[in-house]
Symmetry: C2
Subunit: 276 residues, 2 copies
DNA sequence: CGTCCAATTGATTCCGGTCAATGCTGGTGG
DNA sequence: CCACCAGCATTGACCGGAATCAATTGGACG
């Protein structure tokens, strides 16, 4: 299926669009972004590109974790099977996510391609050796892990405190934000068009709801003219601001500038830090 | 309040118990665990011990993030204030947690001592310089971040899928698991005694419930003789297994050994990885 | 002993889950 | 090309669990 090679990477047709996979589409956002030329060529030697079709399995719970991957394009859903037969979508990964140096040798989750996706794969041992040769690489991975931790805390807040409508709106906003990387639509100005990379059940499993509730809230948004469906998977959002309103994201955001919170009088920890 | 110095660290009375703070009580679990003697003394030069009383403020949302800390003893609660005036407890940190190399220069959360706590504090710049001198240190921090990410995913599942009784039971189990490090009780065999480091409202904010619901579920557990209160803060759990039963933790665990899941026939990604 | 605040308990409401019927759509085959 | 079908999605009716509002209890402390 490979059609040409540039820098050892392929060019290929995905979703009807021909994509040239030169060195790395992620720019400096992915793990490659941290590396100089020599390190980059070192990393390239041990990497492989893989394309996975929508729905394709990447790995299963319990499999040996003998490789890592970063997402170059598309999206991957990480899920866990529950005792009652349902699944929970643990995470929705999109570029430039790197998954995921866990310490244990077996996978904790199932991984599927949510849409047609392009991955960059690294076998565990060579990668770990590469990691020890290039500190900047570990540095970058660390930074990415911290960011993911931050994101996971935002999502926790959504699960803990938002009602079903706010959750659905929040998911749509997340998709809009990463539409480019996932390749599921376009944003122009304040409006967006996207093809949902999840069906109703998956949205529910991600949001901690049932598929019926997700459907109802989507219908509600439709009735309020905040979103519009051209098919079951294709939504357009004429005015993203309205959706932001509904999702109540303000509550999630950091306090703006100086008008922060009145600290109730309590002083923060006095440091007396060592100089410099 | 310092009473003596050993290795430059203090000895002090906490919670009625005199604790000698020799080099590092965390053993190899904390960030020090990764270091050899020279690196250790390098790190020590830039570290400071701090004791914080229960309820004491460590920092506020919006403060400058000019230092990091690891928890040596006790527990810290990270919270966010919501638009409606409530708070959400984002995370409950206990030893040997390190908080938290975020990239941004301002704090995203409030940090309070949940119980009397002992921290090890590092000013940002010297610490980052130390980090670049000692790769093992960054390695360790990275590993800890990954573990924390894993834990946050378990908690997400709790928030997404568990009912109020299961959530309350899960929280108690978490506290039991870390009772030693938090210093809030003791476990002997299959029974545990602990002093809750959170009030009902905080438990609710952590679990995404209301304080009334938390109270009701605690009462229910009491009626079922699974827990017993000697005061509002002091619980004893005669048989932890019963609590595990209620919390339905099995659903969270990895599939045991070989009897994993039937993969529905789908093959996982074929790798064709480079050798070695 | 009285005050204050946390916690418990009760009554009621409402949101989301559950169960069930119906609708829609894209794919298949006649 | 159209009819049919399978599976996803929508919608409705009803139920139950947690939120909400409110009253009461109980413990800590002055």
């Amino acid at each position: 299926m490979a059609e040409s090679y540039i820098n050892g990477f392929e060019s290929r047709t995905i979703g009807g669009i021909r994509r040239t996979l030169s060195s790395c589409r992620l720019g400096d956002r992915g793990i490659c972004g941290a590396l100089d030329d020599s390190a980059l060529s070192d990393l390239k030697k041990i990497s492989r590109r893989r394309f996975i079709q929508e729905g394709g399995v990447i790995f299963h719970e319990g499999d040996e974790a003998d490789y890592f991957f970063s997402i170059v394009f598309g999206a991957v859903k990480l899920s866990t099977s529950l005792a009652d037969g349902r699944q929970h979508i643990v995470e929705f990964l999109y570029p430039p996510s790197f998954h995921s140096l866990h310490i244990e040798s077996r996978r904790h989750h199932n991984a599927h391609a949510a849409v047609d996706a392009e991955l960059c794969i690294y076998a565990r041992n060579p990668f770990e050796r590469c990691l020890s040769r290039h500190i900047e690489l570990e540095h970058k991975l660390f930074e990415m892990a911290i960011l993911e931790l931050e994101r996971s805390r935002v999502r926790m807040l959504i699960l803990a405190r938002k009602n079903s409508l706010e959750r659905v709106a929040s998911l749509l906003l997340m998709l809009i934000e990463y539409v480019q990387d996932i390749g599921c639509g376009t944003v122009r100005g304040n409006s967006a068009v996207l093809r949902l990379p999840l069906n109703r059940a998956e949205m529910a499993d991600y949001l901690g709801l049932t598929l019926e509730t997700v459907s109802r809230q989507l219908s509600l948004l439709k009735r309020r003219r905040i979103i519009e469906f051209s098919s079951r998977r294709d939504v357009s959002i004429p005015d993203v601001k309205q959706l932001v309103e509904v999702a109540k994201v303000e509550a999630l955001n950091r306090p703006k500038s100086g008008l922060a919170l009145h600290h109730g009088g309590q002083r923060a920890l006095a440091l007396g830090m060592p100089d410099q």
